[in-house]
Amino acid sequence: MYLTVNGEPHEHRGDGTVSALLAELGTEPAHTALTVNGNLVFSKDWEIFKFSDGDTVEVLTFVGGG
């Protein structure tokens, strides 16, 4: 399916779960927060959540900041 991830088109080849997308992106799930179509998806809901074709996904992590 086709997603928009952090503003760029992304073809997702996995099963549409959060863990599959994060593995594809190479990020550590414990260090990641997600919004899908503008809504925060809490990590406690990741197991049951499935992406849909066309979803806009933001994958966020911490960087240095003051």
């Binding site: 990020t27 990641t32 925060l40 966020l60 992590t61 900041g65 003051g66």
Partner: protein
């Protein structure tokens, strides 16, 4: 005066220096500076994960510092709604109750928006966050933020990254005088002596980033700031001597007291 510990909500901290983790040349230097400073609370910012720079992620290296708690900020937010969203994402990522609310609509001077900050702080405090708002040094705003349940207020000493020092000194004194919550100077400090000065005035802590990250030797400067904060805190406890002797009027004012 046995308040040796900084208290934010029900949490206590042995160090009264809070460090920002931005603007360092590399993560390793930042981590070493954090360690050298002795800080127990650092601010972090949210960003999109970048596939090309996976090492920018600070979660893993910061997680190794067991004594350090995280305080996500809301930088990038330009209004209350965005700041609330950023805070929720930050809490999701960090598991920390602390949030530094910073809302600066103007990308040049980065001065905090007092109106939006107030509304964001009110909503987040009601939602259980320990809110530390970054604000203009305004005594009225500081009391209003205390009233809505903030854990501390963080007035600016000068513009972010300006190194302008404690240019808001008189206003910060007024904030401290009537505040029931910790007052933390955030932004503007350039030298450890200014951190000491803030602590001597009665600040509960200082938050420093640029002055350490942009020093020639950030690790050594982090340690110097720790010493400055400690010096100022101890001086406050010890009680400063007077600046000048009082004058005695030439014609007595108390002659009416027979």
């Amino acid at each position: 005066m046995n308040d040796e510990l900084l208290k934010l909500g029900s949490h206590t901290f042995g160090s009264r220096l809070i460090l920002g983790t931005g603007k360092f040349s590399d993560t390793e230097t930042m981590i070493r500076a954090v360690e050298a400073s002795g800080t127990e609370l650092v601010t972090v910012a949210l960003r999109r994960f970048n596939r090309d720079k996976p090492n920018d992620d600070l979660c893993a290296p910061l997680a190794k510092l067991s004594a350090v708690r995280l305080m996500p900020n809301t930088s990038g937010a330009i209004n209350a709604k965005e700041a609330v969203r950023a805070a929720q994402l930050g809490r999701e990522l960090s598991g920390s109750p602390f949030v530094k609310v910073e809302i600066h609509p103007n990308p040049h001077h980065l001065m905090p928006d007092p109106v939006e900050t107030y509304f964001a702080a009110k909503e987040l405090a009601a939602d259980g966050f320990l809110v530390l708002p970054y604000i203009p040094a305004d005594p009225v705003l500081a009391k209003k933020l205390e009233d809505v349940g903030c854990a501390a207020v963080m007035p600016l000493g000068a513009a972010i990254g300006s190194g302008g020092g404690l240019s808001t000194l008189e206003m910060i004194k007024l904030i401290i005088r009537d505040s029931n919550i910790p007052v933390i100077v955030d932004a503007g400090l350039r030298a450890p002596s200014e951190a000491a000065c803030a602590m001597e005035m009665g600040c509960a802590a200082v938050l420093v980033n640029s002055a350490i990250a942009a020093a020639q030797d950030p690790v050594a400067m982090a340690e110097a700031f720790a010493l400055g904060v400690q010096t100022g805190f101890e001086a406050r406890q010890a009680g400063l001597m007077l600046q000048s002797e009082f004058a005695v009027a030439t014609s007595p004012l108390t002659s009416f007291l027979s």
